[in-house]
């Protein structure tokens, strides 16, 4: 198991390097520069280029960037008066982390419940209802849903604030908007997996032992249905975080996503790179954790080299 984790971490580093290289090159290929202001005299511009090392050849720039990166230095923002990128990410991450965590947790729990109920009431109104909800949740984009929530719950009913970030009640609407996709995906998946598991012979065996239905479903059903579901939670988390870029903008939440969108508009190279790398590390870590979890749930993966008798 330890060897497996080390191997995975090795792959992670390779993946990250490729992501950094690609985004660096892509960014260099973008037209324009952070100092695109027409009022700026050419001589001033050249000085600024020199100051930030932008006059050097691209491979050299990349080398310098990597060296700094290894030491934990993501450089300084070109736009925000030389503030370090790490500092900006630190300030901004709080709101995004809370929002993402809430959305994934709430979405997963509700999704699981919906899926399990639909499977247990297979081919009844409840099942059809849950399926329709799930399809709607997947097909309606979260920003459409966000606008809908802002209008009805925020403006018409006046129950909850529709923008900014001043406490828990400010996080409710954006969390719901983000969680809808998670709920829908998890519910659909859980339903299919539960139906599959419930038709297995070991469920019948458990029944023949005289166990009660709730016991069979929790002890024998859900754990086995969870195995494939765990694998999709990884990509789903990633999706949710990416989705939060737009949601933060809509709800004017001072999160990382909002900052990221802004930095792209202003060509703030260092900030774009820094945030991209941050997201990349986050994604690869989430996927690694999910893979390890998978092994914990499914003994067939965990126990390697078990002797057969």
């Amino acid at each position: 198991m330890v060897r497996y984790i080390f191997k995975r971490i090795g792959y992670m580093i390779i993946t990250l390097f490729i992501i950094i290289l690609l985004s660096f090159l892509l960014m260099k290929a973008l037209p324009g520069s952070p100092f695109n202001d027409e009022r700026l005299p050419e001589t001033q511009k050249e000085l600024l280029y020199k100051k930030y090392g932008l006059d050097k050849p691209v491979p050299v720039q990349f080398g310098i960037y990597l060296t700094n990166l290894v030491q934990g230095d993501l450089g300084v923002s070109f736009v925000f008066d030389n503030r370090p990128v790490t500092k900006i990410i630190q300030e901004r991450i709080g709101a995004s982390a809370i929002l993402g965590f809430q959305a994934v947790t709430v979405g997963t729990i509700i999704g699981l419940l919906l899926g399990i109920i639909a499977a247990l009431r297979h081919n009844t109104i409840i099942d059809y209802g849950a399926t329709i909800l799930a399809v709607l949740g997947i097909s309606i984009p979260s920003f459409v849903f966000a606008g809908f929530l802002q209008y009805w719950v925020g403006v018409k009913l006046g129950w909850l604030p529709i923008a900014f970030w001043n406490g828990f009640e400010y996080s409710i609407l954006p969390t719901i908007a983000l969680a809808v996709g998670v709920v829908a995906t998890i519910a659909r998946f859980t339903r299919i997996e539960m139906l599959e598991v419930l038709s297995q012979e070991y469920i019948l065996t458990a029944k023949a032992k005289g166990l009660s239905n709730p016991f069979i479903i929790t002890k024998h059903g859900i754990r086995n249905a969870m195995i494939p579901i765990v694998t999709i939670i990884g990509p789903l988390t990633v999706n949710t975080i990416t989705g939060s870029l737009v949601i933060e903008k809509i709800f004017s939440i001072p999160g990382l996503g909002e900052q990221f969108v802004n930095s792209i508009i202003t060509n703030d190279y260092q900030l774009i790179m820094g945030t991209t790398i941050f997201y990349a590390v986050l994604f690869v870590t989430v996927i690694l954790i999910i893979d390890i979890l998978y092994g914990l749930i499914d003994p067939r993966i965990r126990v390697t080299g078990g002797d057969k008798a």
């Binding site: 297979h122 081919n123 297995q200 012979e201 070991y202 019948l204 065996t205 458990a206 029944k207 023949a208 032992k209 005289g210 166990l211 009660s212 002890k219 024998h220 754990r223 086995n224 195995i227 749930i297 499914d298 003994p299 067939r300 126990v303 078990g306 002797d307 057969k308 008798a309």
Partner: protein
């Protein structure tokens, strides 16, 4: 004897999209204390539904209980409360299912799975439960139970898992065990072990067993009484000897006659014609009438009642009516004919074998240092027009051999020649096509080997198209092929799901024949089929061999059927052929300990014989330990009879021969 369980007029139907399927139609039987009652029938006969009804385990949404009572210990199982039935399940009546691979929860340790019912039904707690679990595992013959109870199902082999399932069923000392095809998914030697285990436990605990199976050999070995089911009804019930030696119903007689009898040589097997009726619309009268050559007029009009033959023996056939004509039962007719003729051994051209394998090895790499030697140096020839049987247990490499011959795997080393040509020399596409045309394969599972979205005509036509037969010749050719495999041309426009298992296997054969092959590799072609259908397919294969001069490699685990169909047999064990001989010779004088154990493990459909027989046990560990594998070679001990023996074993064999001990 005390009646433990009474089933009275039970009728069960299922709601399907097509309508009501009458799976069980008005059956009644009793179960006595300490006996084994076998319920025999083909798929769809209602035997599994009956057994599940005894614990109310049929799916609640679709099951319709039409009528009946199941009385156990003052309760009616069909109407008692959910609580009452749960107190009976696992504690009083427990169940063993067919497939040990799926009957255990893969994410729970076996110890916990056994402990569940103990916790539910007894007052034992904590360490007491663990002790009980270990005790149970020891009882079913699992070694190092105190360590292994913490392991997960995937760490056990199929046979071990079935033992665990049995331990689970015994956990609360039930009075009745319902075993639903408990050994069908297992190899013969493992099957024999499990059956013996069930028997010994039954004696220790004075259990009653309801044993559901389609295998008459297993019935002869296990049962005290037998109920034969057909089309949702019990058509005959009686003591095991009464059923096997004095059966009255033409269906029972046909089933018994369709089993190959290893002691009798015949050209064709008796096969019950036709297929079982569709229970969406059960036939009027005797359900078996349309397949019965001697059906009376009344059989088509009125359902026969259960006639009493003896105190314990009942059969539902009008033939038992005092006015009915006396007909010699089919199995007795056959026995008389068979005594007379003995077929002369066929003569083959041994100089020019059609298929020849030399030191063929097929190794699969399993990661860095591990290699799976699936086929490890086998050499044999198949002569033109011969049927060569390859037998062995799962994992011995017999299917891999078949796949290597047809070129599905590239062999690791060795040489395969078909009709004198090395198959690896077929460099050009044209050569390859010509080779593919000569060698065709029939697969085991008639359900998954036909594309469900293609019409039968298109499935057969595929082969014609690949091999460049002009389109205008397809239609007559397809009709001709359907005719050859015994189907009418109406089938050309149907889809596979409209066909029964036996019919699909016929399509599989027609597809193989479409390109006029010379060698057919049949990989377990009958093991997924019911007994009466098996005989039909075997007869078809034999007929084709004779009419078209086909050569077969017949791969199977069922030795009695292989013995019947094959001219010569090779026995495979761990990637090697350990014994090879004419089928009669192999059957009469097996030499290799593995072959002898395998032969003695097959249950024969003859209860008297089964009671006397002793199983020869092949102990793999001691066999491997005392052996100098280096000096092993394939020795011809009698003309045409080869055995894989070490020098030492060969010396022993010769000594035994001289001493007059016939091995």
């Amino acid at each position: 004897m005390k009646k433990l369980l009474q089933v009275k007029n039970l009728s069960v139907s299922f709601n399907t999209y097509n309508g009501e399927v009458q799976a069980v139609r008005n059956i009644s039987f009793d179960l006595f204390e300490g006996e084994t009652l076998a319920i025999v029938g083909e798929s769809g006969s209602g035997k599994s539904v009956t057994s599940k009804s005894l614990l109310r385990l049929n799916p609640t949404e679709t099951t319709m209980l039409k009528s009946g009572h199941i009385l156990y210990n003052g309760h009616d199982i069909l109407t008692c409360s959910e609580q009452e039935i749960r107190a009976i399940r696992g504690a009083e009546i427990s169940m063993i299912f067919q497939d040990p691979m799926t009957a255990l929860n893969p994410t729970m340790t076996i110890g916990k799975q056994i402990a569940e019912s103990i916790k539910k039904h007894t007052t034992l707690r904590g360490q007491q439960i663990t002790n009980r679990v270990i005790e149970l595992l020891q009882l079913v013959g699992i070694k190092e139970a105190d360590k292994r109870y913490k392991q997960y199902p995937h760490q056990f082999s199929g046979g071990m898992r079935q033992r665990i399932v049995i331990a689970m069923a015994l956990a609360c000392e039930p009075r009745i065990i319902i075993a639903d095809e408990p050994t069908t998914a297992l190899d013969v030697s493992i099957q024999a072990q499990i059956l013996e285990l069930l028997k010994s436990i039954q004696q220790k605990m004075n259990l009653s067993i309801i044993f559901i199976t389609h295998d008459l050999g297993v019935v002869a070995k296990m049962a005290d009484r037998v109920a034969v089911m057909y089309a949702g009804k019990i058509i005959e019930i009686g003591l095991v000897d009464e059923i096997f030696y004095h059966c009255q119903h033409p269906y029972t007689q046909g089933l018994l006659a369709a089993m190959p009898n290893p002691d009798i040589d015949t050209d064709t097997l008796y096969a019950i014609p036709g297929t079982p009726p569709n229970l969406l619309h059960p036939p009027i009268g005797d359900a078996f009438a349309s397949r019965n050559q001697h059906a009376l007029k009344i059989d088509f009009k009125e359902e026969p009642p259960l006639f009493q033959v003896s105190d314990t023996h009942f059969a539902a056939t009008w033939l038992l009516h005092e006015l009915a004509p006396k007909i010699v039962p089919i199995h007795q007719q056959l026995a008389q004919v068979q005594q007379e003729k003995h077929k002369a051994p066929a003569v083959f051209d041994k100089e020019h074998p059609y298929l020849s394998l030399k030191e063929v090895k097929q190794h699969f790499s399993l990661g860095k240092n591990a290699v799976n030697k699936a086929v490890d140096g086998i050499t044999f020839d198949i002569y033109k027009g011969e049927i060569f049987g390859l037998v062995g247990e799962s994992g011995c490499g017999k299917s891999t051999t078949g796949r290597s011959i047809i070129g599905l795997n590239a062999i690791t080393s060795g040489e395969i020649r078909v009709d004198g040509r090395n198959i690896n020399d077929n460099q050009t596409k044209k050569d390859k096509l010509a080779f593919n045309r000569k060698v065709q394969m029939i697969f085991q599972d008639p359900y998954s080997s036909l594309n469900p979205r293609m019409k039968i005509a298109d499935i057969i036509a595929e082969g014609l198209a690949i091999h460049g037969i002009p389109k205008n010749e397809w239609k007559p050719k397809i009709y001709e092929l359907l005719n050859i495999v015994g189907l009418t041309k109406e089938y050309a426009n149907r889809y596979p799901h409209e066909l029964s298992g036996g019919q699909r296997q016929r399509i599989g054969i027609a597809r193989a024949l479409a390109v006029e092959p010379e060698l057919i590799i049949a990989d377990e072609p009958i093991s997924a089929l019911d007994v009466s259908i098996q005989a039909q397919i075997v007869n078809l294969l034999k007929k084709l061999q004779k009419e078209r001069g086909l050569t077969y490699l017949f791969i199977a685990h069922d030795l009695s059927m292989v013995k019947y169909i094959s001219d010569r047999i090779g026995v495979m064990y761990r990637g090697k052929i350990v014994e090879l001989a004419d089928s009669q010779e192999l059957y009469d004088h097996p030499v290799h300990p593995y072959t002898r154990a395998l032969l003695s493990a097959i249950p024969l459909p003859d209860p008297k014989l089964e009671r006397e027989r002793n199983r020869i046990i092949f102990n793999e560990a001691t066999y491997q330990a005392n052996r100098n594998n280096e000096s092993e070679s394939f020795i011809e001990i009698r003309p045409g009879h080869f055995v894989m023996l070490t020098e030492e074993e060969f010396d022993q064999y010769q000594l035994a021969q001289e001493g007059g001990i016939l091995l």
